[in-house]
Amino acid sequence: MKKTFVLLFTLFSLCSQWVRADEEAVRYLDAIEKKYSELKDYTADVNVHFDIETFKTPDMKAKLYFKAPDKMKVESKGVFFFPREGGFFNPALFRRDDVEIKMLELAAERKEEVKLKIVPKKKEKVGREFVLLIDRNDTLIKQIYMSQFDGRETKAKIEYGKYGSFDLPRVILLTLDVPSMDPGEKRGLGPFEQKSERITGTIEITYANYKVNTGLKDEIFTQK
């Protein structure tokens, strides 16, 4: 009887700790959303530099348009490849209603950063998992680690600069680790097929000339 009581008590304590941790995790994301609640839109010049062995391309330049909550467009003179995940800044990317949030590392008082695990609920993002590293002092997402069910992994390290009253990305360094062949592709002659290798490398995205809250119209995002 005594043993059962101790076990139940321990379980109850752990559960309440987990619940508290998850509530705390939600608070961190809420704080970020609140910090950027006044950010309605922005435009910026983007330079993308590829350092991937299989991507032989000069730096690509474009103009990026963003309008809260989730409208984004890039405009370029030539062909432009822009990373979908982690390539641009959207403070409302992880809204509490759209995701499940778990605290990965409990934040001790002296610790400046916390790690959160995010699992999207939206159908189009199912199969992806995100781990965020949040700076508690500045209320900023410093790193985003993304993994997908098909083995694609991306890590985004974000450096911020002050633009007006907002901290916005100055440089985003993406580290890619993806399969070299499309999983749907069948090549070669069965037993002789080469094993699928992985492609790794980095993409450095530099932002400049931010213009914040200029009142971008919705039509900009619908034009071809």
């Binding site: 991937i52 405009e75 370029s76 490849f81 002659l189």
Partner: protein, 280 residues
């Protein structure tokens, strides 16, 4: 030179010569129109792998991309069209029964066969140039211009060549494509010098090209070791024009090897033709 123009006139007077040009015109025009209609499907298939990770903007499916795409798809089939004429250059005279009439004329056998060979090369160059220019000009008219994306289907990688550099790269690719196809012409020409009718040289040349291509691509160590000795392994040098940076050393090596094949094949053809018995 007069002999060369005479042979060229003869070659281009035959309706058979235009089969190749017509076939290419039909294939290129129909392909490009269909590609224009189903542009989004092509883009989706080509860029499927990247669209998971990247937003892609700009005119990816432009005339240069289409040119590269069609050249990539057809460079195996063009040799057949080349052999249609090159394989008939010498044997055609035997078939028509005019070989004695031709060889009792003042020009030496060496001059006659050189003129015929140059005509075969001229036809090859004209055909590849027609193919390349038709692809490019029609492609640009239908799809516009832009940066060139070179992508090996199913593989996670691209080469992007800025629009300003593309025309020169294309010219280099066209020149390299002509050069590589001259070996097929030389081979068909040699077989033509050996035969009395045209069917044998045409089928024989294609058989050699197909066998070499198959051997060169089989993923076994034996065939991998063999592939440097097959001229077909060097025929894709035109694709290197789209590498970054351009591998000049590799292009030069392939071009020299193909050139030596041309010299060797023509030399053997000339010896055979000079020793040919026309009395029996």
């Amino acid at each position: 030179m007069r002999l060369f123009w005479f042979e060229t006139y003869k070659a281009f007077s035959r309706w058979r010569t235009y089969i190749s040009f017509s076939a290419i015109a039909i294939v290129v025009i129909v392909s490009e129109i269909v590609m224009k209609v189903s542009a989004s499907e092509i883009l989706f298939r080509m860029m499927k792998m990247f669209q998971k990770d990247f937003l892609i903007s700009g005119n990816v499916l432009n005339g240069w991309f289409i040119t590269g795409f069609i050249m990539n798809s057809l460079h195996i089939h063009i040799p057949f069209l080349i052999t249609l004429v090159a394989g008939d250059m010498v044997s055609g005279v035997a078939t028509s029964g005019t070989v004695r009439l031709l060889l009792i004329r003042p020009p030496s056998r060496s001059r006659i066969i050189t003129a015929k060979y140059l005509t075969a090369l001229f036809y090859t160059a004209a055909l590849v140039l027609f193919f390349s220019l038709l692809c490019a000009l029609l492609g640009i008219a239908l799809f516009g211009t832009g940066d060139l994306i070179v992508h090996h289907y199913g593989k996670y990688g691209i080469v992007l060549i800025p629009e300003g550099q593309v025309p020169l790269r294309m010219l280099l690719a066209f020149a390299a494509a002509i050069w590589s196809m001259t070996v097929v012409a030389s081979l068909a020409f040699l077989f033509s010098a050996l035969a009395e009718n045209s069917i044998g040289p045409i089928i024989g040349s294609m058989a050699v090209v197909i066998i070499f291509l198959v051997f060169g691509n089989l993923p076994l160590d034996f065939f991998r070791d063999l592939s440097p000795y097959l001229f077909t392994s060097y025929m894709n040098l035109w694709q290197r024009a789209f590498d970054v940076p351009i591998p000049w050393a590799s292009i030069a090596k392939s071009a020299i090897i193909l050139g030596l094949h041309n010299i060797g094949l023509f030399w053997v053809a000339m010896i055979i033709y000079r020793r040919k018995d026309i009395k029996s």
